[in-house]
Amino acid sequence: MSPPGPRPASLWGDAWRRLRRNRLAVACGAFLLLLAALCAGAGALPGLPDPNAPDFALGASPPSWPHPFGTDPLGRDLLARVLHGGRVSLLVGLVATLVSLLVGVSYGAVAGYAGGKLDEAMMRFVDVLYSLPYLFLVILLLVFFAKSLVLLFVALGLVQWLTMARIVRGQVISLKQQTFVEAARALGAGAPRVVFSHLVPNTLGPVIVYATLTVPAVMLQEAFLSFLGLGVQPPDASWGVLVDEGRKLMTVFPWLVVFPGLALAGTLFALNFLGDGLRDALDPRSRGEAG
């Protein structure tokens, strides 16, 4: 696909090199990978208690040496519950972000570039999806399909890409009049190439910002869907569910909301600083700048 002649430094190779120089972003990326590894391997961690094994004699206890995050009113170890809960939460965040990236970005870019009738029709379809009562969609999904984690992803995926599509479309509408697009077309690039190789990389700034903010939003939405019966079922829990349970006992056992809340907030902060680093690294206009 690449034009003949000396191969220019690729967007991704360039970006990777610049990202590695951003220490904060690298530290945040490492933190997220470590957290994901800890959560994924929580079952095999030596010395970590069973997250669902109650200890009624102990009950709710504040953080202590054997239970660093304390225990819930049933005497279950909160550290184990947070690590195990992280699996669902991180997976949900990852899948929803992927959907919103793949579907939302392509949909918005195509609509914005095509313009006219096609844009009109595509955006009205988005409006329709936005307006349908979500609660009923979820209830219907629950009625027609067996409860499963896959269903949770379907329910989240249905709506997560809509705002992304609108943001990308807005950017593309503004970008497509610029000279670099004309130049690409003059060089013989077809519509798909103009959209995906020239326009989309230029929308990545807002895309990354919005994607990183999608992650905490869906993690919390998962708590709501789990409450309706989609998603994790007791005794299992996710971060959203743990925060929601902790909130009810906030005044008596504050650690129950603090630790899952910290896990969520820590992920969010790391994601955002990693996102900033990615944004800076991927910005096509800063290519070649300062090495």
Partner: protein, 305 residues
């Protein structure tokens, strides 16, 4: 511009029709129905109720009747509050939701845009990181935790503000703050990203070269296009804000549209749900149209066809 806007307004009709049709069948496909949660209704009374609202007619006939009435904005009485018309219920709570959402939107913009602009202007400095961390605080605490926390602090400990209800100016503060908190982060981060890109554009360099003051360059030139991503986000966000946030209305017992939707959904109050959904859809489309018009205003390169 006018032709474009007119066509978009006319296009709202088929879109609303599609939404109304899908919602009509969606709510009826959900299990259960109205009048099933009431305790001990004699079967005869239930049959009479069903007949009174035409729910015993074939689905197609119900649909045609509904469309004919909806066309003249008559949505019929609510099933769960039979003495009230859905139109009055929706418009009544819309006022409250507009006020709550409107203020929250203003707060989010007033806090988010300066924070984002500051961060972009001081890109990759401690000021940038501090501004972003401040903006992120709002999303990192979920609103169902933030609301009770604020109540605990300002109402139950300091006794400064009422903990709930929608009764006076003071009662507005906590719900508005809770609702706005998450949006501050979105606005601030999208502003920062947008501004970072426009600050390097040639036209900004031109403005500087003309000798304009920094403040004017940033606010009048760079920010104008830098706000495009924020504007795109605002369409759906504003619609969501002014039609009520389920959680915040629940936490603070605010009688807004979100509560009507939840009540309608749980009682299978078909007419009420349809009313709220159609109202929301209308608001959403108006905001999206405004957003598209705003692109053309903000970015002279955009052509509306």
């Amino acid at each position: 511009m006018t032709a474009y806007a007119t066509r978009r307004v006319l296009l709202m009709v088929p879109t609303l029709w599609a939404i109304a049709t899908l919602t009509f069948f969606l709510v009826r496909a959900a299990p259960g129905g109205p009048f099933q949660s009431e305790r001990d209704i004699p079967p005869a009374a239930r049959t009479a109720l069903t007949a009174k609202y035409g729910l015993d007619r074939p689905l197609g006939e119900q649909y045609v009747t509904f469309l004919r009435r909806a066309a003249v904005l008559d949505l019929g009485p609510s099933y769960s509050q039979p003495t009230r018309q859905v139109r009055d219920l929706v418009l009544g709570s819309a006022g409250v939701s507009f006020e709550l959402g409107g203020w929250a939107l203003l707060v989010a913009l007033a806090a988010g845009i300066p924070l984002g602009a500051l961060a972009a202007y001081r890109h990759n400095t401690a000021g940038d990181r501090a501004a972003m961390a401040a903006a992120l605080l709002g999303v990192s605490v979920p609103n169902f935790v933030l609301g009770p926390l604020l109540v605990l602090l300002f109402s139950l400990t300091l006794f400064w503000l009422p903990p709930a209800l929608w009764t006076g100016p003071a009662s507005r503060v906590l719900p508005v703050a809770t609702l706005a908190a998450a949006y501050v982060a979105y606005v601030a981060r999208l502003t920062r990203g947008g501004l970072l890109e426009t600050l390097r554009e040639d036209y900004v360099r031109t403005a500087r070269a003309k000798g304009l003051g920094e403040g004017r360059v940033v606010v009048r030139h760079a920010l104008r296009l830098g706000l495009l991503p924020v504007v795109s986000f605002l369409g759906p966000a504003a619609a969501r804000l002014v039609t009520g946030s389920l959680v915040v209305e629940q936490v603070f017992a605010v009688p807004g549209l979100g509560r009507q939707l939840v009540n309608g959904a749980f009682n299978r109050d078909y007419t009420l749900v349809l009313g709220v959904v159609l109202f929301y859809a209308g608001i959403l489309m108006v905001f999206n149209l405004l957003v598209d018009l705003a692109y053309a205003r903000l970015d002279p390169r955009v052509e509306l066809r």
